[in-house]
């Protein structure tokens, strides 16, 4: 998988940033319409549940961005795995921007990231010694995130917000699949790998 990915690195590097921005703008551009479609006034009490859920998701994105940054700075990641990690981190930044913008459009206040020290402790970074350890941490995070986005969809107030979560869940699932392949692990046999 790594070799396959490596052959596409140049293309991904060249197109990654622009594509992410377009995705984020597309989601953000829908946000006021989402609030109107749901019959809710921005900042109204009816939005509180959605804002809370999106803020939890934003917390996950903050954590993922910092985890990939810690991995990138660790010196343990070798190319092309390092490029893969940075690509995924960039996509999580796209999710962060989209979620924070949507929360703001709904009248909420976006949560801020925790400190590096907090993430080092809560993710047990001290136990990480190898590139494979980092990949497993990322793999676990991406699986959990994909499932989390799928799991909150029924709680959201509108199908449009659920669609936003579905888009992000698909990205997380793609990340998990590539990380699983990079670790040399087989994909599960049963259907419904997520959710």
């Amino acid at each position: 998988m790594i070799e396959h990915y490596s052959s596409r690195r140049g293309l991904l590097r060249a197109t990654g940033t622009a594509a992410l921005s377009a995705v984020a703008i597309g989601i953000l551009g829908d946000a006021p319409a989402l609030a109107r479609a749901a019959g809710k006034e921005p900042g109204g009490a009816a939005n509180a549940g959605d804002i809370d859920i999106l803020n939890v998701a934003l917390g996950l994105e903050h954590e993922a961005i910092e985890a990939y940054q810690i991995g990138a700075e660790s010196g343990l990641l070798q190319k092309p795995v390092l490029d893969l990690a940075l690509l995924f981190q960039g996509q999580h930044k796209g999710h962060r921007d989209a979620l924070a913008g949507t929360i703001g459009q709904l009248g909420g206040k976006a949560v801020q990231p925790k400190s590096r020290a907090d993430y080092m402790a809560s993710l047990n970074i001290a136990a990480i010694k190898t590139q494979a350890d980092i990949l497993r941490l990322a793999q676990a995070h991406e699986l959990g995130a994909a499932n989390a986005y799928i799991g909150v969809m029924p709680s959201l107030g509108g199908k449009e917000l659920a669609q936003v979560c579905a888009k992000i869940a698909a990205d997380e699932a793609a990340h998990w699949s590539l990380l699983t392949s990079a670790l040399g692990e087989a994909l599960p046999q049963p259907a419904f790998m997520f959710g």
Binding site: V56, L60, S122, H141, L143, G144, N147, G151, S155
Partner: protein, 124 residues
């Protein structure tokens, strides 16, 4: 009067026994995997992350994990976490505790039972 009370008590016990028999019994080993895959992005046993730490959650009053900043809704909830309350919460958290920030639903009863069995095991 006594006959009526005894009959009512017997009926209640029968209903309770039936409900217990129908409830899926959880497997903590399966629950550990499900916990990692479904809860692990926000929670861990020993660290407060996006959500509170879970070791000791079974039998604990809701909203009281040390060092975690709960929503007002969860802080005010008069709930002790056990099989029944966890099962209800995981089905639809915001319906049970209005104002909780958790929106994740675990819809499969068997999976909920496994996760609850794991949380109970880890809380001993």
């Amino acid at each position: 009067m006594r006959w009526a009370l005894e009959t009512a008590a017997a009926a209640w016990l029968a209903v309770a026994a039936t409900a217990m028999a129908m409830a899926p019994s959880g497997d903590p080993a399966r629950g550990a995997k499900l916990y990692a895959a479904n809860c692990g992005s926000c929670h861990s046993l020993d660290a407060n992350r996006v959500g509170p730490a879970h070791r000791g959650v079974y039998g604990r009053k809701a909203g009281t994990a040390r060092g975690y900043a709960y929503s007002p809704g969860m802080r005010g909830a008069r709930i002790v976490w056990n099989e029944a309350t966890l099962d209800r919460f995981l089905q639809n958290p915001q319906a049970m505790v209005p104002g909780t920030r958790m929106g994740f639903r675990l819809t499969d009863p068997a999976r909920r039972a496994d996760v609850i069995a794991y949380l109970r095991q880890q809380s001993r």
